[in-house]
Symmetry: C2
Subunit: 529 residues, 2 copies
Amino acid sequence: MTLTGNMLIGQQAITGNREAIRAINPATGTVLEPAYLGGGSEHVEQACTLAQEAFDSFRETSLETRATFLETIAAEIEALGDELIDRAVSESGLPRPRIVGERARTCQQLRTFARTVRAGEWLDVRVDNALPERQPLPRADLRQRQVPLGPVAVFGASNFPLAFSVAGGDTASALAAGCSVVVKAHSAHPGTSELVGHAIARAVKESNLPEGVFSLLFGSGREVGVALVSDPRIKAVGFTGSRSGGMALCKVAAARPEPIPVYAEMSSINPVLLFPAALQARGESLAQGFVASLTQGAGQFCTNPGLVIGHQGPALDRFISTAARLVQQSPAQTMLTPGIFQAYEAGIGSLQELNSAQEAAAGLRGETPNQCQAHLFVTRAGDFLADPALQAEVFGAAALVVQCADDEEIRQVLEHLEGQLTITLQLDEADLDSARAMLATLERKAGRLLVNGWPTGVEVCDAMVHGGPFPATSDTRTTSVGTAAIQRFLRPVCYQDFPDSLLPTALKHANPLHLRRLLDGHREVLENA
Amino acid sequence: MTLTGNMLIGQQAITGNREAIRAINPATGTVLEPAYLGGGSEHVEQACTLAQEAFDSFRETSLETRATFLETIAAEIEALGDELIDRAVSESGLPRPRIVGERARTCQQLRTFARTVRAGEWLDVRVDNALPERQPLPRADLRQRQVPLGPVAVFGASNFPLAFSVAGGDTASALAAGCSVVVKAHSAHPGTSELVGHAIARAVKESNLPEGVFSLLFGSGREVGVALVSDPRIKAVGFTGSRSGGMALCKVAAARPEPIPVYAEMSSINPVLLFPAALQARGESLAQGFVASLTQGAGQFCTNPGLVIGHQGPALDRFISTAARLVQQSPAQTMLTPGIFQAYEAGIGSLQELNSAQEAAAGLRGETPNQCQAHLFVTRAGDFLADPALQAEVFGAAALVVQCADDEEIRQVLEHLEGQLTITLQLDEADLDSARAMLATLERKAGRLLVNGWPTGVEVCDAMVHGGPFPATSDTRTTSVGTAAIQRFLRPVCYQDFPDSLLPTALKHANPLHLRRLLDGHREVLENA
């Protein structure tokens, strides 16, 4: 298709009337056509009106209809073919294999949510049958299911132009729950967003769903985002991005006459703990694995390992010197946008000025625009504990090694950590007792704990948690990756003494959806399940 | 036991040093002994330090230990015998049978959460086994469970001195989840709170739990509450009370460096829809049922039916005249506190001054202090839609009937409603189609929908939802009554490639807790379950 530069409000292509957004190829600095004129509050109003009109019918579509709709989106994205890959590569500077892989992940994610929708466990059906003879008072017939919250606003992320943008995890999980969605595209990849937006709009049409199920807006400043989060019809917000951006949306949402939940995935430095036996036995290979994870995708993953914690001594020194050598050999890599590159450079500059940390290595310099040079810094536990600046995320391939005198200093460093998406434990058999003693603290600090792996790479599955205590996310009770993400967009409703004909299908006495209900205090076992 | 007027910080009785709280018997105006000196921020600090110290070990107690602990609290409350009943009657002005029933409900609630803890479904265990051969990338072993959020602050409610105060629903669900709890007692019933607090403290000791699992603070002003919600160790808040009180706590929680969830159950007028056929066939008995629900407990239930919606005409006129006659015959009833009585009188005064509503009836006048006179008002849909004051909760036995010209006006009134805990439908067979057409709207507006019942009386069971969209609650995703309330105090953690010996018991490969896990995308069927 020819890119038009238009927004999508339901099935209508609408030209904005605010400042134009122009994508830039960060690898060359070239400005890409077409221009995307930004929308304004009047476009938010239109999109939210449609989203609200669509909601009551979309949310009561059958599980099969909704699952097929998600699968149709995946098929429509795949049908975009090389045009989508080419444009996403141009707009992100990411290598082609990465974008091809991200497309696969995006489509797998949609299909995984289709499976989740069909299984229906998310409805969490609970039935307490009437007890008319109970003393001193009879019990009514009480039935509970989950219903979707309402229209959801989704903000595209810069670092996953496919998997966490227009048809990414937030959109997939909100649609799966039965929420209509209004996406504000990330300004770094408007062309990619338009292509994917049209794929979703086509799926809406093919599935005979009301057009307001999905809209796509552009906007360069704060107007569209603030209007969207403020709109009374929007009932939840999904966001992946910076801490300042996420907190700004949280403030807008909390100040509404009716506050709403914001699921903002914001900031994490993903500590890696090197336990003594592991460090002693395989410091070299740990350094290799670490630098590979650190520099993957120019360090632009939410789960990038930005902090290494270990006992000071010869083994940690060897780890540092190996990692330093590898960092020095690391080629520079194009970052996603000029803005992200500038923020990275500024963050590195601030670290270099601190007395509390020393630079151990810098990677190869870039020769084309916006190239990120990897950096490794080293500090001591005392300095880390004293200087909050050392805990700030520098988005990109930068990491800090914290040298601790003993277990007690490690414990202090762990307790001092802000909330994290991940914490990684590198350990051998002899380290197990020591790790076990820290587990309670680690569980309080992170959403995902890994043993002998690296945090980059987030599996889309039932058991994944891509979340964690603040400021990793604004809502530690949830995950933004994996099938449990559907729960972010649901609320329970109880039906008391409803005649069967008035009950929603999921709650009818005959259990036509064959759900494993919680029935009078016991989980049902189904014969044909 | 002799009441001491002391707070409980862990196992220690501590005398406050701020302004004294003195309970008043609202039925007589008598001041009750002893005085309860208020605590200050230093006591909050002590209680939160203990709560944090207790948390890591309490949260990893076995399911059996925690369930037995909840049952021990129930037994200790029952062991308080008549002393508890007498004091609660004196402090609340509530009739003795009501308090006896509330004690039974409180203990049943604790025992129901014990059953829930033992069943372990709340752990929501998800296992995705490793797929080392998968292409293009292998999958790690990923396991998820729910862990408790951390220490929880609970604010006692005025209207349930037992079931929603010191050992009430919020405390029971937070302890069930594995959170330590710091309660701020409601100043209306400090003696009841001290008695129940000691029962919990005894159960803590008998169960060999760390003392910081439970503390009880008093405070007459904002100091204790604000310090508690602001304390960095507190990770969630449970509150039942006024809209202004709940919103104040939400603001404090949102302004923390690390914002935390507040579960505030605040304000609901619990609309009752009278459908035409039902109104025609049984208007008299509907009026009787309505006035009985309206005046129960002096109207001091969160689910008190404060709004009636019906088609104008002779049938509704008959309903109104019958209800008016019954209201006029209603004896006055003692309210919980002088403050609540004064607020009720002020609310009625405001309604009487409005031109948009007419008073249809007032109940019998009180002859002793703080007695609530029931009131019935009538308005037209147009006036209701135009005047937001008509939707404000007047806590007590006051209700408003909204006369609607047609289905369209009823639809407009429903859409205009704020979020509610309950909406009741009075309908007969001939009304079903009409009710079905409104269901989507009703589900968006309330947490519980009832057919042909009355909203007062909230069953403690699996399927109950005592929640609803704002301002009924501050978090529509949850319930404060029923076993699903445990989910308010949990967050997911994912364990990647953990050796079995390091995994928490719930996640070990052999499934020693016999949990019905979500295993590689399918729900496990257990042989001996």
